[in-house]
């Protein structure tokens, strides 16, 4: 067999976590939580960001040691001191962030993951064994390709294959479909579901997609703010009931209705070409017009040139050729042009792309206007009081949770960083808004608020370009939908007329 040591008895087993409590200093991340995953079941773990899902599974995997509580694997209580112990018990985890080494080949990554990598690897023998292993698996991956050259979907398949190659029979998947097209997600989850049904595998999947829970999971456990909020059989629950359990009594911002018609062309891209960091063409001569009072959504699996396109519009990357016009004028992302045309930007990873982490919330909110009245006199003398007053007003208006306006912005949670950037970018009238994955990793309340603000900006007549990996978000917000694949726009439709399967096919490049 491929694994050197004696394999543990075959077949799926269950895991119970009983009365789990986890404290980080004063912070109670898990409060007496119970999780029961039956052997041979597909179990979903639902919860908002910060609800304690990751903490719980990391306790099971031995990354953290729970302050209190017991873990029962199969029918025996186990003390899991580190991930190696968990692996030895047959527990495996697929992380949200890939743990493959991008500069190595798929085969190297698989062999490397073993506990018994030989001192000198006999590659011809290993390749033969890997091919034999792949022949038994439901999905295929190119063994000789470098991981950096394969698509996100294939990488996710590799991650799962790696766990199966290592003979793990209890798999924890952390948001496994966030980088996949809906069709790919269905394919991967469907194949795993088949293995579960055959009794070869037990799966615990962290997710926030109700569609996948309804389609694939047998049972669900829902966490809220570190506490067990509910659990039960999926067949007896509705998505609405699960969402209510997840959010609790919190009030969500109501999104304003879509009003008004699209006006004149505001943002025009003509044959824009841009390179990625490795010097390869990432954006292939794309052309697009966004009109006032319109949201154009760009869909696509991450890594198809969306990031580079947004960077060109944000002034973070120079276009190789082509031109960008805003309201008819050439645009090179200078500060004057952005100001004149009332451009706003919500880049992805706002803490990295739109903030200076070590500077205060007030300073970050003032970035666009800091050297102009009322923030500065004569263009150089800064009026700190004005910074703070303006920040206080926006902190209230946008419900930014920060201790003081002088707190460094890096101390805020992701949702509140995004709210602070939103407060800065959407202040005053906006004519062009460019948003990239604005809700990535945020909780329901923040998502609802950001969606409402984007829709309100559109209704006030802004031209909105929304780049997102979340198809549901695009379908909800955009008037028109464009699919980006390998740096090109391969599909365009009015959102009301777009067919989800056709969109998904184009996202996958078919």
């Amino acid at each position: 067999m491929i694994i050197g040591e004696t394999p543990p008895p075959a077949g799926a087993f269950g895991v119970n976590a009983i009365a789990m409590t986890m404290r980080f200093g004063d912070f109670l991340a898990l409060d007496n939580v119970e999780l029961k995953v039956r052997p041979g079941s597909f179990h979903a773990l639902l919860g908002e960001n910060g609800a304690g899902k990751s903490t719980l599974v990391k306790c099971i995997m031995g990354y953290y040691h729970a302050t209190e509580g017991d873990i029962i694997v199969g029918d025996r209580e186990q003390a899991i001191a580190n991930p190696k112990d968990a692996h030895a018990l047959g527990l495996g985890m697929v992380y949200q962030h890939f743990t493959l080494v991008p500069a190595m080949t798929v085969a190297e990554n698989l062999v490397l993951a073993r506990d018994d990598v030989p001192a000198v690897v006999n590659w011809s023998k290993e390749m033969k064994e890997l091919e034999a292993f792949l022949a038994r698996m439901p999905f295929k991956v190119p063994l000789g390709a470098r991981v950096s050259d394969i698509s996100a979907g294939e990488r996710q398949k590799c991650e799962i294959l790696k766990q199966l190659y290592l003979k793990r029979r209890f798999l924890i998947l952390d948001e496994p479909t966030s980088v996949l097209t809906p069709a790919e997600a269905d394919e991967v989850l469907g194949m795993l579901r088949d293995m579960v049904v055959k009794g070869e595998l037990t799966i615990l999947m962290i997710t926030h997609k109700f569609r996948e829970v309804m389609a694939f999971a047998d049972e669900v456990t829902i966490l809220r703010r570190g506490k067990l909020a509910g659990a039960g059989k999926v067949a007896e629950l509705t998505p609405d009931a699960m969402a209510r359990t997840m959010i609790g009594a919190e009030e969500l911002t109501v999104q304003p209705p879509r009003t008004g018609e699209a006006g004149k062309a505001r943002l025009q891209l003509k044959k824009v070409r841009a390179l990625d960091d490795a010097g390869a063409v990432a954006v292939h001569d794309v052309s697009l017009t966004v009109r006032a009072g319109e949201i154009v959504g760009i869909a696509g699996v991450s890594g198809n040139g969306q990031r580079q396109l947004v960077e060109v519009l944000a002034g973070q990357r120079e276009a190789e050729s082509g031109e960008v016009r805003v309201a008819g004028d050439p645009y090179h992302a200078s500060r004057d042009e952005m100001r004149r045309h009332r451009m706003s930007l919500l880049p992805e990873e706002p803490l990295k792309n739109a903030c200076v982490g070590g500077m205060s919330v007030a300073d970050n909110i003032a970035f666009r206007e800091f050297d102009r009245a009322p923030f500065a006199s004569g263009g150089w003398w800064l009026n700190r009081g004005a910074f703070r007053d303006d920040a206080k007003e926006k902190i209230g208006q946008y419900k930014i949770k920060t201790r003081t306006p002088d707190t460094p912005i890096s101390a805020l949670s992701g949702g509140n960083v995004q709210r602070a950037v939103l407060a800065r970018e959407l202040a005053g009238d906006v004519e062009v808004l460019i948003a990239a994955n604005p809700c990535f990793g945020l909780d329901f309340a923040a998502v609802a608020q950001i969606h409402a603000e984007i829709m309100a900006a559109r209704n006030r007549g802004a031209a909105v370009l929304l780049v997102s990996e979340d198809l549901d978000e695009l379908l909800e917000l955009s008037d028109r939908l464009v699919v980006m694949f390998h740096g090109e726009f391969v599909y365009e439709a009015r959102t009301s007329e777009a067919d989800l399967t056709v969109v998904g096919r184009h996202m996958a490049g078919h």
């Binding site: 490397l112 390179l275 490795a278």
Partner: protein, 308 residues
């Protein structure tokens, strides 16, 4: 030609000899640094390691009478300095570049202090293999007097190239250098891998230093290294972290360094100092040609502090 004068042929011969002789320390330091950097850490302290290696090799060779024991001592000294670098870098929030600069100064300073009594005495030197025995031309014979360390270095480059691909240690070093998250997720200690990689890197750099004091130029004094250690660190970047390219880059650099003295020996005296700068001009030129502000370095280990 009867008097052994071969005219302008002296220049390419001297460059060839230089490529073999001058390149050896570059080769050892750059191969060592290649291992360290592939594990995700930069050790700029190798200049200090080189000088400490030269000093300890000379001292041990003088005390024991065996130059090979000196080479071993230089390697051990280098490994200890590497362990010191890795140990300090294991502490949280410590920057490897800053530690490297500190160790560069520490290493040279310590070597000068401990090496004061070694400037006068003469230690037994490493012998050379005469590959030019078949020729009557003294310049060619001089160029082909090759030291065993050079041959070891030349053999080491393809061995490392092979080891990075097909040995467990090679794969682990690359994993630590490309994605420490991945290494941790597999249950490996990134710090331990880097400690070992830095120690091996220091070992090789120390041996590079022993070549300076025990073969060419072959004595111990404070002006022994003219920045070879730090140049070799740059060579690794220039060679795109590929051991085979490190070999070629070291040879090119050694050859270029011999250009100035060679031209002087045939009577081209104008611009002597300019020709001495040939290696540095070569580096600058290649860097400008091969780099672009719009691209990241290809082949750079993703965890290096300069590429992150």
């Amino acid at each position: 030609m009867a008097d052994g004068s071969i005219g302008l042929w002296t220049v390419p011969l001297a460059v060839l000899g230089g490529a073999i002789r001058v390149s050896t320390p570059f080769l050892f330091v750059s191969l060592g640094e290649c291992i360290t950097e592939r594990s995700g850490r930069i050790n700029l302290g190798l200049e200090g390691t080189l000088v400490m290696g030269a000093m300890s090799a000379y001292g041990i060779s003088y005390l024991t009478g065996s130059p090979w024991l000196g080479v071993l001592a230089a390697g051990i000294t280098g490994a200890l300095l590497g362990a010191l670098h890795a140990g300090i870098c294991s502490l949280p929030r410590v920057n490897d570049v800053a530690v490297g600069i500190a160790l560069m100064l520490f290493g040279t300073g310590l070597a000068f202090y401990l090496g004061k009594p070694l400037i006068e005495p003469t230690a037994p030197r490493l012998s050379a293999i005469d590959f030019g025995w078949w020729s009557d031309i003294p310049q060619l014979r001089a160029a082909l007097r090759v030291n065993v360390l050079f041959l070891i270095g030349v053999a080491l480059a393809p061995i490392l190239y092979w080891a990075f691909r097909t040995t467990r240690w090679g794969l682990l070093i690359r994993t630590a250098g490309e994605s420490s998250d991945a290494a941790r997720a597999m249950g490996h200690s990134v710090l331990l891998i880097r400690l070992r990689a830095t120690m091996v890197g220091g070992f090789l750099a120390g041996i590079g230093g022993s070549f300076l004091s025990l073969f060419y130029p072959g004595s111990w004094n404070e002006g022994l290294s003219s920045g070879q250690g730090i140049t070799a660190v740059a060579l690794v970047i220039f060679a795109r972290w590929d051991p085979l390219l490190c070999l070629w880059a070291s040879l090119a650099f050694g050859g270029a360094a011999a250009l100035g003295p060679a031209l002087q020996s045939v009577g081209v005296t104008s611009g002597y100092h300019l020709f001495n700068a040939a290696p540095y001009i070569l580096t600058l030129a290649i860097m400008i040609i091969t780099c672009s502000p719009k691209r990241t370095l290809t082949g750079a280990p993703a965890e290096l502090s300069i590429t992150r």
